[in-house]
Chain length 257, copies 2
């Protein structure tokens, strides 16, 4: 049995707030051992002063872009940019958030969401004496599927991957499914309760105590897969264009041009 | 509040079983109005006789491949193929399942999982008189992230996308986040309870009655996005190679070769 309980009562978060303390207050008396707190990245960013003035949202996206993965002009003339951001996350608009912020401002993702999760976990564990975990989530699109789901961008005190590699099936054969992305599934489950426009950035996920562990467990950064194992380094059109230019050069070199 | 309740008591499913009736029996007395049943595709496939003899799993994958999206040889010499299958799903190994099946057999995905979900929803609604929804899930890898999550491959009686397009944020500005992929988030939430090796292919998801609707709502096929909107039609390496060959041809044509 899994329960996801939305938490009311977190005040409007402003820069400089001690978010860990606010969260500890909001869940005071409601937590049980083995609970996992799911926190929307937006409140973490706000507390950490990541609301920045931006003449233009596009400039802000550029500032958060390590590498453009794919970009397209949509039929209504807007540019969609899928980029790798400084956290290694491949996201539309680099994760720069322009909704529910004052005019002329954008909200950047937390600078180190695993550290943010760690700070919250430490504080809540100290306050309650309970072994709890923390997931910080943000909203992602995906290739090949419409719509967005919430995934984990920060985590502390939980096994982010339930690694079955080396495990066997009921017939004793090696399992082909290797590792359930637990932290991402928790973020998605919590989003079903927290929703999008409601002011409920915090939920308690109960029933996964077996996935809660030490504060030295790897954070959500461990889920990021880039480099050689990444089959989708850049969009198809970008890769095609790179290949085309290389092909033209190769054919000309062959001719001694 | 969201509850995900694993359902015990579904018998081992064999070809020809009336799965809708078995599920209706297993949840008898446990359902409430507005519940959503999350069903692992594996039992649907088994009931529908999708366990097929296969000399070789690779041949079975080829038979389920509409189009190769990307393929790589892993360091241990195995070939990973990401393909589009007949359902429009882009998946590793086309969704062909070789675990927990007899030697010499593989399990294919249901032929029409939206229709399978519909059949279950109709039967359970008739039996109970309750307005319930159904999601059929399978396990997917993803670009840029390690691990797998469960997503919806079939659905009936629910809003698969919680469409906020045209909506406004708390400041009255157009929402940039467009549509939460509810059906996928439900599949992921249910996977946290159903797990991978346990024999629990069925869960009740309670607390989302506002997302349950008529049996004429679009199924999970509506989540599939391919064609012009797909920036990742093929893997980067595949696209690069296509582009390279086109570049070589273009340079040669230019020379009149």
């Amino acid at each position: 049995m899994l329960n996801v309980i939305g938490v009311e009562g977190l005040p409007e978060v402003v820069p400089g707030d001690d978010l860990a303390a606010l969260i500890a207050d909001a869940v005071d008396g409601a937590l049980e051992d083995g609970d996992i707190l799911a926190v929307t990245s937006k409140v973490v960013s706000k507390a950490e002063g990541r609301l920045v003035a931006a003449r233009d949202r596009e400039d802000a996206i550029t500032s958060q872009t390590v590498r453009v993965v794919a970009s397209r002009t949509t039929p209504d003339g807007r540019i969609t940019r899928i980029v790798e951001n400084p956290l290694g996350l491949v996201m539309a608009a680099a994760g720069v958030d322009g909704s529910n912020v004052p005019d002329g401002y954008v909200l950047l993702l937390p600078e180190d969401p695993d550290a943010s999760a760690q700070a919250i976990a430490v504080r809540v564990r100290e306050r309650t004496g309970l072994r709890i975990g923390v997931v910080i989530s943000d909203t992602f699109g995906r290739p090949w599927r419409d719509g967005q789901t919430d995934l984990a961008i920060g985590a502390a005190g939980i096994h982010v991957l339930d690694d079955l590699r080396g495990g066997v099936d009921d017939n004793g054969r090696a399992l082909q499914v290797t590792a359930a992305a637990i932290a991402d599934e928790i973020a998605s489950a919590a989003d079903l309760v927290k929703g999008k426009t409601s002011r409920m950035p915090l939920a308690i996920v109960r029933g996964l105590a077996h996935l809660v562990g030490g504060l030295d467990l790897p954070g959500a950064r461990a889920i990021v897969r880039l480099g050689a194992a990444d089959m989708f380094r850049v969009g198809s059109e970008e890769a095609w264009r790179e290949g085309y230019e290389a092909g033209v050069r190769a054919a000309r070199d062959e001719r001694g041009d």
